[in-house]
């Protein structure tokens, strides 16, 4: 057991350990009943988490960050991920102001942008997300708009266009944690013949997380969160290719979302992630 768990997580783990010999599978079944999860999750120090930690369980966001900003969890299937937490009210206000500022840049495109390659995406959208919009056309328009935000730097700088070619009606499970939601979306919808899966959810059971991606797999999940889904998408894309949280103020992979860092990735060995994105990516490319 880890010594860092918030009360509900560690207590439930401890209780389970005590009760297990007595109640055996009863405890397992009851746990399953309350959480559709890909846990228990194991942190980098071997600590076991039946419930993902949330900032709400900690005295401050700073305390949460001190413990989890760089933490990497592993699911029971061996998939690794980091926690992308919700923002504090002050952070949210700051990010909204930065986002408005970013919108002021011209980002001139030019005809060179018409010479590009396209990557197709499958987009499962859950019922809570869909319910926020009056029609399917509105859902699609919203998602395309958010993909375009994440896509803007991708297209302008790298000539790659992410295209939402498919959208799927996804009925997300009750009481799933965010990693459970990602697994469910992939299990039920997957790539569906496209290159990547971007799942969209407004489910309220995320445990204080706003997005998740498995490190090294072409699948991710974005929560409906203020107006920041485009930034969340870009951040999660970084995770899919093994990028981990950094502390550089210009880096889009900061553990706390920063809308002012859209399109920014560091290209040197950075202290928090201990990664140089370029070398990491080169190593990862050999997987294919």
């Amino acid at each position: 057991m880890n010594s860092f768990s918030p009360p509900d997580s560690q207590d439930s783990s401890t209780m389970k350990t005590i009760l297990f010999p007595i109640l055996g599978l009863v405890t397992l079944a009851a746990t399953s009943a309350y959480h559709d999860t890909s846990g228990p999750y194991v942190d980098s120090q071997g600590g076991v988490w039946n419930v993902l930690p949330s900032p709400d369980d900690y005295p401050s966001y700073a305390a949460f960050d001190a413990r989890f900003a760089q933490e990497v969890f592993t699911t029971r299937d061996g998939n690794r991920f980091q926690l992308d937490r919700k923002l504090s009210p002050v952070e949210a206000a700051n990010n909204q102001a930065k986002q408005q500022l970013q919108q002021g840049f011209f980002n001139a495109q030019g005809s060179g942008n018409n010479v590009r390659a396209a990557v197709s995406t499958n987009n499962p959208v859950d019922e809570e997300f869909r319910a926020l919009y009056p029609s399917i056309a509105d859902v699609k328009a919203y998602i395309v708009g958010k993909v375009n935000i994440a896509d803007a730097s991708m297209k302008t700088k790298w000539g790659i266009d992410m295209v939402p070619t498919k959208g799927a009606l996804w009925d997300s499970a009750d009481t799933a944690d965010i990693v459970g939601l990602l697994d469910e979306a992939y299990r039920e919808h997957g790539l569906a013949g496209t290159d990547m899966m971007h799942a969209w959810s407004a489910d309220s059971t995320s445990g204080g997380a706003i997005g998740v991606a498995y490190i090294g797999w072409p699948r991710l999940l974005i929560k409906k969160y203020l107006s920041f889904e485009g930034n969340i998408l870009e951040h999660e894309i970084g995770h899919t290719y093994t990028l981990q949280h950094c502390c550089d103020g210009n880096c889009t992979m900061q553990s706390v979302l920063d809308t002012g860092a859209l399109g920014g990735f560091h290209n040197y060995v950075e202290n928090c992630s201990n990664q140089n994105h370029t070398s990491v990516m080169n190593a990862q490319k050999n997987r294919y």
Partner: protein, 244 residues
């Protein structure tokens, strides 16, 4: 929100010994329908500009977003997208691609041989910034396709830089004027200042943005001059060859 069927089943049965079986994945059939689906891009489509065939990766990359958008428009009108509805006006449809190819051909003429080290560097940088997206692209078009993509991107950068060098210089007054415009558009500029975001921190980014705009304007003006002489041949499904 729904309760997961298989988990509910596990509980309802009270069959604790079936806990292992409860881990099975839900059927795809249970997952519901499609919100939208873009049919396969109609093909084959071929494009030649000034007598040279355009890489199918570029034709696909150009057409797929437009085809997806066309599909949405047709769906809103209660119709299916078809090759006929999509290729109604080929010249209008393909002109943006032709403009890009004219630019690329000029870049290839100016920089026929690219230093391998520069291509390697850009490819590494691209991989670092695009992550699984580039990997997904590589799975579809292969390593050679990605290499060709990187070379095109490098040439596009070089030629934009060349046009930028010819563009009028951006002055400090222009940078400051743009800064004031941008701050006027923000609801709470005081909040940005409080965060340490001010003219001195933003000036380099604003300057780069203005310089890029000037370079793009010069580049587009050059393409405008070339377009009347461009010879284009497009092969379309069911339409044969269209030339202009």
């Amino acid at each position: 929100m729904r309760t997961s069927g298989w988990r509910a089943g596990c509980l309802a049965g009270g069959a604790l010994l079936l806990a292992g079986a409860c881990g099975k994945a839900e059927s795809v059939d249970d997952a519901g329908g499609l919100l939208w689906e873009t049919p396969e891009l109609p093909g084959p489509v071929t494009v030649e500009v000034n007598g040279r065939a355009v890489d199918p990766v570029l034709i696909h990359g150009f057409l797929l977003p437009l085809w997806t958008e066309h599909g949405a428009q047709q769906a809103a009108a209660g119709a299916q997208p078809t090759a006929e509805s999509f290729f109604t006006a080929p010249q209008e449809l393909f002109t943006p691609l032709v403009r890009g190819i004219v630019l690329l051909q000029e870049a290839e003429a100016r920089w026929p041989d690219l230093p391998a080290a520069e291509v390697d560097h850009l490819q590494a940088e691209m991989a670092a910034n695009t992550g699984e997206v580039l990997a997904a692209l590589e799975r579809r078009i292969g390593a050679a396709g990605v290499r060709a993509h990187v070379e095109r991107e490098l040439r596009k950068r070089l030629i934009l830089e060349a046009f930028g060098a010819e563009a009028p210089e951006v002055t400090e007054d222009q940078v400051f004027a743009r800064y004031e415009e941008m701050m006027a558009e923000v609801e709470d500029p005081a909040l940005l200042l409080q965060m340490g975001i001010n003219f001195s921190t933003l000036a380099p980014q604003i300057r780069a943005d203005l310089e890029r705009s000037a370079a793009v304007a010069a580049q587009e003006a050059w393409i405008d001059l070339q377009m009347p002489a461009a010879r284009v041949q497009v092969g379309l499904p069911g339409r044969g060859i269209v030339r202009w």
